[in-house]
């Protein structure tokens, strides 16, 4: 709004400073860098997968590899019971696992932040009603809810995404509400009111920017749990039966007798992939938390 009315340098320089400071502080956290590296590696693989994986390698009718074979030349992680390369399946599975995890997190964060912000700002009956609704959702058992949701919405990525979002936004809402209450008690809110700010302006210009770091941190941790939930739900057979995700690979391995056959190469890779991605998001989340929270910098 104001960019045209005074020198751009005066406004932009500090923003860059702030971002630069963040990057420099982040670069000093090796665990955070390792987590970021893991995520970037998985992200690049997932995005680039269509370049080297086609229907030939994924369609159970077209593949011609040995069935349920341990790692051999050409199949570094072995094959599944249809003869597909487990390595390629894990890479392909990253696409859906990551996208469901990220979309569910986005829904969770938007819904949870909106409810938390409103409940924290309007402390009268609006806040009470919102918190009662939140409590009600907390009390809902998430697994049966997800199963019934996918029964209603049909199997597939969409119903899994919605089921994850519906069962996990409450934590974000509670967190954001607590932080909103803390920010609302600070004197600059009083100053803004006297300057003429209404409810919307106070929430958007003053509370939200001060709650944002917390939302950012909590969302990196939410992605981790969303990916785990996605694996759980597809493992239970609620996902798209034709798609490949890490959860559906585990399910297929179980159903295909990989456990009794001792086919460790089929079970381990998707499990380890889940572990590594969740670890990556957790490391990034912790590092961001440390960098953005000045009281934790000293360690």
């Amino acid at each position: 709004m104001s960019a045209a009315t005074h020198t751009p340098a005066a406004l932009d320089v500090p923003r860059h400073h702030a971002f630069g400071r963040f990057c420099r502080a982040y670069a000093k956290r090796p665990a955070g860098l390792a987590g970021l590296g893991l995520l970037v590696a998985f992200g690049v693989l997932a995005l680039a997968a269509p370049l080297f994986i086609g229907d030939d390698q994924l369609n159970v009718i077209k593949v011609d590899g040995p069935q349920l074979s341990p790692p051999v030349d050409g199949y570094p992680l072995g094959t599944d019971q249809a003869g597909r390369s487990v390595l390629l399946l894990v890479i392909w599975g990253a696409r859906e696992s990551l996208s469901i995890g990220l979309i569910a997190t986005a829904l969770t964060v938007v819904l949870g932040s909106a409810v938390g912000l409103l409940a924290g700002h309007y402390q009268g009956w609006v806040g009470k009603v919102l918190m009662h609704v939140t409590d009600w959702f907390i009390a809902l058992p998430s697994l049966p809810l997800a199963i019934s949701l996918s029964a209603v919405l049909g199997q597939g990525a969409a119903s899994i995404t919605i089921a994850i979002a519906v069962t996990s936004w409450t934590a974000t809402a509670r967190l954001v509400r607590a932080q909103t209450l803390a920010v609302e008690a600070r004197p600059f809110i009083e100053r803004a009111k006297v300057l003429g700010a209404g409810n919307t302006q106070i929430m958007i210009r003053h509370v939200l920017p001060n709650v944002m770091p917390l939302i950012l941190v909590s969302s990196t941790l939410t992605v981790a749990s969303a990916i785990l939930s996605e694996a759980t739900l597809t493992f239970l057979g609620l996902g798209d039966p034709t798609g490949v995700t890490w959860g559906s690979m585990l399910q297929a391995a179980l159903m295909g007798g990989a456990v009794t056959a001792g086919a460790w190469w089929y079970l381990m890779p998707p499990g380890i992939a889940i572990l590594v991605v969740v670890l990556g998001f957790t490391l990034v989340g912790r590092a961001v938390e440390h960098v953005l929270n000045p009281r934790m910098v000293t360690r």
Binding site: M1, S2, T5, H6, T7, A9, A10, L11, V13, P14, A18, R186, P187, F188, E190, R191, A192, K193, V194, L195, G196, A197, G198, Q201, R205, H206, P209, N210
Partner: protein, 317 residues
């Protein structure tokens, strides 16, 4: 002189938790601030002076009485409050807390004009306000963030933010209490300069009688929700009449009088004593007991600035 801000029989009562008595934070106050005048409101912690300041800018809704800005009683709809706050602004005690840590100085000062739709030549308005508040050259400060400035500079930004709306009155709640002694003088000088150059009126809330002496034209002394003595700064501080004011002044290092230490319990707004509200701690009453002190309620002081000094005391009238 025109009255720009007035309170009439104002009461603010905070509801109590179940079983306890409500707190009468402001319990009948009349006060007027005239154009170009600086009024100091002094009193000890918990006497209701901050509540009165917040009621003056509409942050606290009075339970009784009126706030009158520019001759019109203040309404409490969002639009009426916004219109009122265009010419009555607040400066808070802690400038570090009063500025949003994520807003640049420019945005902090531009906030008021933006909210009131004064976005025409906004940059010029902000720079003028910064310069008026003593942040020169303004370009050098516009891009900074609160944590990059000293407490005195932060308080100047808060004052600039208020000035950007070109208000008639500033209500300052302990504006220098959290600042270094060296910076205090600068901020007080700034308030005086703004009065002289812009004709600004101010109500300065403080617990510091020295501050009142330095900047105020008139002083109102508040005790337990009510103004107990009011008059020009010379009348109140050089010839205090109310025993509470006298006790406050006697403990200043250069008062030249033996210090009067108040005894008894600190005042509690949930149980205001009957009669004169100061009687349980009053040194005059302790010396010569008078039945009126405990039994007869005192009238609320009129707060008329043209009257000579007023004191709410049975014994000195």
């Amino acid at each position: 002189m025109k009255t720009v801000l007035e309170v009439r029989d104002l009461t603010v009562t905070y509801p109590a938790r179940r079983g306890a008595a409500p707190a009468r934070a402001v319990d009948g106050v009349n006060l007027q601030v005239r154009q170009g005048e600086i009024v100091a409101l002094v009193g000890e912690s918990g006497c209701g002076k901050s509540t009165l300041a917040r009621a003056l800018v509409g942050l606290v809704r009075p339970t009784g009485g009126q706030v009158v800005g520019d001759g019109e009683p203040l309404g409490y709809s969002a639009a009426a409050l916004k219109a009122y706050r265009r010419h009555t602004q607040l400066v808070l005690q802690d400038p570090g807390g009063a500025l949003n840590p994520r807003q640049s100085v420019f945005d902090a000062v531009a906030e008021g004009p933006r909210l009131h739709g004064l976005t025409d030549r906004l940059g010029e308005r902000v720079h003028t306000a910064l310069a008026k508040a003593g942040l020169r050259p303004p370009e050098q400060f516009a891009g900074r963030f609160p944590h990059e400035m000293s407490g005195g500079q932060q308080q100047r930004v808060v004052i600039a933010g208020a000035l950007a709306l070109e208000p008639k009155v500033i209500v300052a709640d302990e504006p220098v209490a959290s600042l270094d002694a060296s910076v205090r003088g600068e901020i007080l000088k700034l308030i005086l300069e703004l009065r002289d150059s812009l004709g600004l009126s101010a109500l300065v809330v403080s617990h510091d009688l020295g501050l009142a002496w330095n900047i105020a034209d008139r002083v109102a002394v508040m005790y337990l929700g009510r103004i107990v003595e009011t008059g020009t700064v010379e009348e109140v501080l050089l010839r205090p009449r109310h025993p509470y004011t006298r006790a406050l002044l006697s403990v200043l290092p250069d008062s030249g009088e033996p210090p009067v230490l108040l005894t008894g319990e600190p005042p509690d707004p949930t149980s205001v004593p009957g009669g004169c509200r100061f009687h349980p701690r009053c040194p005059l009453r302790a010396a010569e007991p008078d039945p009126r002190c405990d039994g007869l309620d005192l009238p609320v002081l009129t707060g008329d600035p043209s009257a000579s000094a007023l004191a709410a005391c049975h014994l000195v009238q």
